[in-house]
Symmetry: C2
Subunit: 341 residues, 2 copies
């Protein structure tokens, strides 16, 4: 039995309580400043109001000011903060732990550095903490809908990091008969895959919106967009130093992300003819990680182009998504540009 401290009581961080509890660990679920009401309720009766279910045995809620107590004697620190919370996590949490405490990040995203480099979040943390620190930050990616993890449905994810022994140890803590964990040192590949799939789920869903408008299924256009999404994810993953096999997680996560949720809804509304502003109004201003991924990845491509890398031609779908979101363009899918390499 180990003690696992999870910071971030959103859907994904909280869902991790289930495999952790089934392995009989002590779990300390610490809310961010945004999770105050959630933690109050968990403290009162163990019910998670966003997941809409009772948390399992062995979980205790902590408010953020109780972080020192939640960290005391803990074996593994898990970050369940969303991508816009990583600066806060570095400052408020990573600064309070010793280098010896292993960290597992569930956050999906890509950070852009001042020099235009695009970094997986687990690597970006190294630049956000004090110089000279040697933190072990590992991460999990792959298709995992949090509510299905809570329901103990079979789920296969990739756990990545630089140290194979640490990965094996984290797997021993969290793997269950339904939560299947594969290990890889391909950090760039896995983090890139899981970040990009949100962007491209919007892209494929454009055809779902077009189909709504035309009253026909449009399977071929959807598949054409899916194929171009895979082509661009492969190209970007390779440019960022990831391995081709990360496409296994990129595609399966893309598949499940198109199946439902807010990124699909955004693509569908855009495909139906809404401008980005109209679509976001209908989505009542939800925060979509796809928007920052599209914006950053497109900016990365433009900067590489400025430096003489003729790579823009490889990303017609990404650049069109960026035009729609950041330049007010209407949907006009560049079908003929698909397939260039």
């Amino acid at each position: 039995m180990a003690t696992i401290t999870i910071v971030g009581a959103g859907m994904m961080g909280s869902a991790m309580c289930f495999p952790a509890s089934d392995n009989r660990h002590e779990i300390r679920l610490v809310g961010t400043p945004y999770d105050r009401a959630v933690i109050d309720r968990i403290k009162a009766d163990g019910y998670h109001p966003k997941l809409q279910l009772a948390l399992p045995n062995g979980v205790r809620g902590y408010q953020i000011e109780e972080l020192p107590a939640a960290l005391e004697g803990c074996d593994l620190l898990v970050s369940g903060v969303p991508s816009f919370g990583i600066d806060w996590f570095a400052e408020a949490v990573l600064s309070a732990i010793p280098d010896s405490l292993k960290v597992l990040s569930l956050t999906k995203g890509l950070e852009m550095e001042a020099d235009g480099a695009l970094l997986p979040i687990s690597q970006a943390y190294a630049r956000k903490v004090a110089a000279g620190r040697k933190l072990s930050i590992n991460s999990i990616g792959g298709p995992c809908i949090s509510t299905e993890l809570c329901a103990r449905q079979h789920t296969t994810v990739a756990l990545c990091g630089d140290e194979p022994e640490t990965l094996a140890w984290i797997k021993s803590l969290l793997a269950t008969p339904y939560y299947h964990i594969n290990l890889t040192t391909d950090v760039a590949g896995i983090e890139c895959a899981v970040a990009l799939k949100n962007a491209y789920a919007v892209g494929v869903s454009l055809a779902i919106g077009l189909a709504d408008t035309q009253g026909v299924p449009l399977c071929n256009p959807q598949a054409s967009l899916f194929g171009q999404a895979v082509r661009e994810m492969l190209a970007l993953t390779r440019m960022l130093g990831g391995h081709t096999d990360a496409v296994i997680y990129a595609t399966s996560d893309l598949y499940v992300t198109i199946n439902g949720g807010r990124n699909r809804k955004l693509g569908e509304l855009l495909g139906q003819g809404d401008t980005y502003q109209e679509a976001m109004r209908k989505l009542s201003g939800v925060t979509l990680e796809s928007i920052s991924i599209i914006t950053r990845a497109a900016e990365y491509v433009r900067r590489r182009e400025q430096k003489g890398d003729n790579c823009r031609r490889l990303f017609p779908l990404l650049m069109h998504l960026d035009e729609i979101i950041n330049q007010g363009a209407q949907v006009n899918i560049p079908w003929d540009a698909f397939g260039r390499h």
Copy 2:
């Protein structure tokens, strides 16, 4: 304007009349012995009873005994026969043409040779015709639902063959503003991808059947199966000498094949608990290319294993599908075996 002779008046062969007609070619659609009634109707009033629409301008129907007239002066021969018809096509059609007539095959499948080798159909033809012949057999793969091609919806496919100039010429005949053709010399990769996706569509759909039974969506299990399907397709494509990038067509074609159709239905019925025999009874004995692909690919893996290649561990999903179909096994997905490499 060219003259294009299409042999096989099934869905896919006949659908090719649309881009060919939009490019103003003369099109001769020749029925196999199974297409007699279809050709009779086309001769009478140009209506295709299986596609349920009128064929476009420039298409004339021919019965198989009129093949010599249909081949006279033709520039490109297209094969639209299903995979179980390729021996017939080699004997009845390829034997009647000069080596100089370029061939385009639309057939999806993998042929097993006596020595246990698994060959893409366009390469298998070389062993079915008289020794010493130098036929140029090219093929098209990728996600393309025939009825949507007839409706002129955007579709992106890969045209593969050994001669880049021939590929460019065939593309010039068939590409339209909605039918987008990418060229590649990766014959093994593309043919393997489009054949295997039928097999794995059954595999992913097992979770759709399980979900029906449980009354919940099971997105994570579906995505886990999708990821394993991609992993196995990549491994088998590499073993057969294909390029990794064929995964672009394998995944997008898998995506659209799971969306509907008979392979999905088979997987769904099996996932609901039917035996293979019960499922096939409900499907009233339709011919499914997935069955022969699963059977042949599993046999290929077993033979490689017998020859000392420890590759069986890479294909737990394929081997389970083979157990279900050929050994009467009940569905019992080997989740823990997924991810091995």
